[in-house]
Symmetry: C2
Subunit: 117 residues, 2 copies
Amino acid sequence: MSDQPITPVPAHEPPYYVAVFTSLRTPDASGYDETATRLGELVQEIPGYLGEDSARTPGGLAVTVAYFRDLAGIEQWRRHAEHRAAKERGRRQWYDRYSVHIARVEQSHSFRRTGTP
Amino acid sequence: MSDQPITPVPAHEPPYYVAVFTSLRTPDASGYDETATRLGELVQEIPGYLGEDSARTPGGLAVTVAYFRDLAGIEQWRRHAEHRAAKERGRRQWYDRYSVHIARVEQSHSFRRTGTP
């Protein structure tokens, strides 16, 4: 959920799952950052959570990809009470529109420049 | 590939495919923008291409999700000569590291605020 300069989540051995969440926000950001930080902590407690890549354009399009070892982890996160409450509030307050795509990774690879630490 | 304020690609009827590309760039950006623009045009010629969501953090992490109706479209894009040449140049020049995750969408939904045009 942050805009920190982090490294991409590496490719894992398929199969695993991605949850792609793309969104445009409303102008009402009150409470958003606190909730995003809290959810970012909670999701790390989900068994099989593998990490997240997230970025936002200056125009406000946010693209977040969360990686999970299996669908059970995604389902557990989807049913998580605080996550559900946050999504409810998000639809009421923070999001103008969003899309969610849950997908099973069939192929993956990573590249790292030689000599990169 | 651009940072324009665009709307998220909507959920389609599963199954369809996502190609998630996350990357960190090197300081050498010469030729990058021209190539990205050209590839952004070419990919639209791929049958079953459904669109793309893309954003980059201030720290340089880029997250791009391209959507395709089927794996054949992804394979055709992967084999495309100009795309292959660009990837080759990318590994030589533009990318410090990247990950690619090809995944089959099993569930999806979109939200749009009531009254949003």
